[in-house]
């Protein structure tokens, strides 16, 4: 690994973000539902019907020594928590978004798809509930403000489907899906700051957003389930 990789290694970032997270979380389950649930938003039509070959948490497919203009590289992380602040372990967090040209991997016949962008990623949380992805800062898609799709599952149950937005991006205020979140405080929960990483020589960004999952009965018959298998 070159020095940037070492600096920005997952471990370093995890350590840093755990330190941040620790101050807000000092007694397990002490919050008694103080954390608001992350609002649910539509899945949209581009959840990949077939998983790409690569389903790790790194959405960039970059050959050594080549740094193509894939987009603004972003390290996205956060913790998956219950409303009482307990971390959710063994939860699968998935993200998907269009590439720098506005094309989703699910759009198989589309021209101009960036082959250096995996477009879909997956991460299994550990005991801290932390998740982490390397991706790009989202770009506008025709008719939509920039966003990253997010899904959280546990076992074969889907716990949440939502979208993250860029805080301060003016097009948010003209996006029907974003504005569908009526409560301004709830909007805060999906608005993400993309901040430059000081040490990065290639302009990488860091983005952090916790995901709070509402309480659900363990075996709710109403929960959407996906068949077991390669999903």
């Amino acid at each position: 690994m070159d020095s940037i990789d070492r600096l920005l290694s997952r471990r370093t970032l995890l350590r840093g973000s755990l330190a941040l997270g620790a101050s807000a979380f000092w007694v397990r389950g002490a919050f008694a539902d103080e954390l608001s649930r992350t609002p649910s938003l539509t899945e949209g039509p581009f959840y990949p019907p077939k998983l790409p070959l690569d389903t790790d948490n790194d959405l960039l497919i970059i050959n050594d020594n080549i740094m193509p203009a894939i987009g603004e590289v972003t390290h996205l992380s956060g913790r998956v928590l219950s409303q009482s602040g307990e971390p959710l372990r063994n939860a699968v967090v998935e993200i998907w978004q269009c590439d720098g040209n506005g094309v989703y991997i699910a759009q198989e016949d589309a021209d101009g798809r960036d082959s250096n962008f995996q477009g879909f990623g997956r991460f299994l949380t550990g005991s801290s509930g932390e998740y982490y992805f390397r991706t790009i800062k989202p770009v506008p898609y025709p008719g939509r403000t920039p966003h990253i799709h997010v899904k959280v599952k546990k076992g074969d149950r889907e716990l949440l489907t939502t979208q993250f937005f860029i805080n301060g991006y003016s097009q948010n205020q003209r996006d029907g899906i974003f504005l569908g979140i009526r409560d301004p405080l709830d909007r805060e929960l999906v608005l993400v700051d993309f901040k430059p990483i000081q040490e990065s020589k290639i302009g990488e960004l860091s983005a952090r957003m916790n995901i709070v999952i509402g309480r659900t009965p363990e075996d709710s018959p109403d929960r959407p389930r996906r068949p077991r298998g390669d999903r």
Partner: protein, 234 residues
């Protein structure tokens, strides 16, 4: 260099112009399709709701919030915004100030100047609805007044911003066609009206430059009378 700067500023403010893709749920509009204006009491209720939700973090019930009390990290950004004197403590008064700004749409996530709730729906077509309570910057506005306050601009700086604004306005006027200038003027009149302002921009104007070059495809074009751009969109 100066020229480049002006172009940059222009592209930033033009980038802020509303685009066509603002389809909202039909129920947010009055019967004649114009966006409903929220009564003042809905906004007051909205402010109260925001304040109540944040003050719920006030563990020791002393009427103030400390950073430590706000255990939801995601709300710390709002906390910092509310903490006007940066002393790590947010009083209920500071909270009310910020809540009002949010409801008025004066902070990035604020959506429309309508607060929230069914009568206050976003209802944006064309220029994005009437001004009302301050609201987002009008098209072409470099640094809206509330931002100048946030940044504590000196009187001299404010004067220079005003001069810059004049320059931007003049250059913008020069590069637009007469029709575009007229449309922009109508949009501007739609902003910054007092509470209970009228329907704002020209109704039914869903696109910029309808007489633009034929066959020009812009990414946000959906064709006349097409389906609302955001229903089921990815």
């Amino acid at each position: 260099m100066r020229h480049t700067f002006t172009i940059l500023v222009l592209s930033v403010v033009l980038g802020g112009l509303p685009t066509v893709s603002t389809a909202q749920e039909p129920r947010d509009r009055g019967d004649d399709g114009t966006p409903a204006t929220p009564p003042a009491k809905d906004n007051a209720a909205a402010v109260d709701a925001i304040v109540a939700r944040l003050m719920a973090f006030d563990k020791n019930k002393d009427g103030k919030l400390t950073r430590e009390e706000v255990v939801d990290e995601r709300l710390l950004r709002l906390f910092d915004l509310a903490d006007a004197n940066k002393d790590g403590v947010v009083t209920k008064e500071e909270l009310i100030v910020v809540a009002k700004k949010i409801v008025a749409g004066d902070v990035p996530n604020g959506g429309r100047r309508r607060g929230f709730g069914p009568p206050g729906g976003p209802g944006g077509f064309g220029p994005g609805g009437p001004g009302g309570f301050g609201g987002p910057p009008r098209p072409g506005q470099i640094l809206p007044p509330f931002l100048q306050e946030e940044l504590s601009l000196t009187a001299d700086q404010k004067k220079q911003v005003a001069l810059l604004q004049k320059e931007v306005d003049e250059k913008l006027d020069k590069l637009l066609t007469e029709q575009q200038r007229q449309q922009l003027k109508e949009m501007r009149q739609g902003f910054g009206r007092g509470p209970g302002g009228g329907p704002g921009g020209p109704p039914g104007r869903r696109r910029r430059g309808p007489d633009g070059p034929p066959g020009e495809e812009r990414p946000s074009d959906r064709g006349p009378g097409g389906p609302p751009p955001d229903s089921g969109a990815p």
